[in-house]
Symmetry: C2
Subunit: 242 residues, 2 copies
DNA sequence: AAGTGGTCTAGACCACCGC
DNA sequence: CGGTGGTCTAGACCACTTC
């Protein structure tokens, strides 16, 4: 209730209003008022209504049926659109209390695999941060992050605050990322840190994050305990050209 | 070249034109003509130009910078938007020749886990299809699909043609899905079929696919060999409410 | 036939970027 | 400051669904 009043744009106001209507009085697959009705309700033009609905549809909250109407989506499919989140954000959204134990902060020369992903010359300077990530105090993941030296020199890293926040403050706002998800079995080192048996299954997520202009900002390799973590996402058919 | 001429809408024509321009003469991070220039080039209104650009931006082909311009995206991030694909489509896009060996087709009563996901009453009738999926003739994945009985009775299943195609033909077009990705270790049965050692790591992808109205059409559990398969996707920040 | 969402026009002003 | 994308209006016609 009484959400932030930071709604600058009209379509945000309309979207918030529709959200509230759904929460108050609509269930899955119920029809929303028609776009023309919404125009009158919110006293805006149709394009503004459509911008608001498009936003909600992106989230999976509603869906359109041409010639019929706009409907409330199924609750299972809410808010699962693949989104780029930090470990902290991810854990909070899952209902865990996140914390960290820093294992290593160092300045290293990029090996080929890292240099390629970060667009650096081989041997280029980068900052390496290795952290054990905890959820509700128990090991959840083992994360190794590489950042180009100029993005965040190791001396400037503050282990106590959000890495993404620090990057944003320094003018490197992450915009999108490419991720690759593998299944791996844990070696002695990783299984010890994650407190699971040697040979346990784990999800390894490799991520190259870039800023709005496509310049690499971060290469992160995170190994999640297979028994505690699964990756969830909603996908839709046709997002491509056809 | 000389793509299909089925471009009914103006924004599709504009999008195709921009695509061609990029392919012909632009590289990553080059600027597109401004929206107002594109209006004149294609003789359309600005909203139509923006609809075309929005489509291309969805695909990751271009990105906008407020106050500056629209630019060509980095090739690494092309066409990786998480998309709902069948195994066959997925393998083809990865450059493999897909094939299948049907292990089981049967009519079963839905156990609780299946009934819940498909929105059926417990014990409701459904069709179960279990297939070994091959890529270039070698085992890649083990797939178990459950379909509500009325969606596809087991007698009607044609092992030789695409399941998704059969569903579409019967009026059950899949629109979106929720997926959950786990890391697992393979038991004796699965490791034997997939031709890898017992205890190997594998990716298990559980998927509930629904039609445009949110009705479940398919529940599929697919176990991919960890040594051959990884899941790749591009994600962007902010797709949610803020 | 009536109502719905989908596309489209021809304008307008605002917010942001870079010189 | 001029140019860019972002939002917005007030209309219009088309394609589709529903009765």
């Amino acid at each position: 209730m009484s959400t932030a009043s930071k709604t600058r744009h009209k379509y945000e106001i309309v979207a918030a209003g529709i959200r509230a209507t759904i929460a108050d009085s609509l269930g899955p697959n119920d029809a929303l008022p028609s776009e023309r009705e919404l125009m009158e309700i919110y006293n805006v033009s149709r394009m503004t209504v459509r911008a608001a609905i498009a936003r909600l549809a992106d989230e999976g909250l509603v869906y359109n049926v041409h010639g019929s109407g706009t409907y409330v989506g199924s609750p299972d499919l809410f808010a699962k659109a693949p989104k780029l989140t930090s470990f902290t954000e991810d854990m909070v959204s899952r209902g865990y209390a996140p914390s960290s134990r820093v294992l290593e902060v160092s300045r290293v020369a990029a090996v080929a695999a890292v240099a390629t992903r970060l667009g650096l010359a081989p041997g280029g300077e980068c900052t390496k941060i290795r952290r054990l990530r905890l959820a509700d105090g128990n090991p959840m993941a083992l994360e190794t992050v590489f950042l180009p030296g100029e993005v965040l020199p190791m001396e400037e890293f503050d282990a106590k605050s959000s890495l993404y926040g620090q990057l944003t403050d320094r003018g490197y706002e992450i915009h999108r990322a490419e991720q690759e998800i593998h299944a791996v079995t844990l070696d002695e080192d990783a299984s010890g840190l994650l407190a699971v048996p040697l040979g346990s299954a784990a999800l390894e997520i490799d991520r190259v994050a870039v800023d709005r202009r496509g310049h690499p900002v971060e290469y992160a390799r995170t190994i999640y305990r297979g028994d505690r973590y699964s990756f969830q996402m909603a996908v839709s058919r046709e997002s491509g050209d056809k």
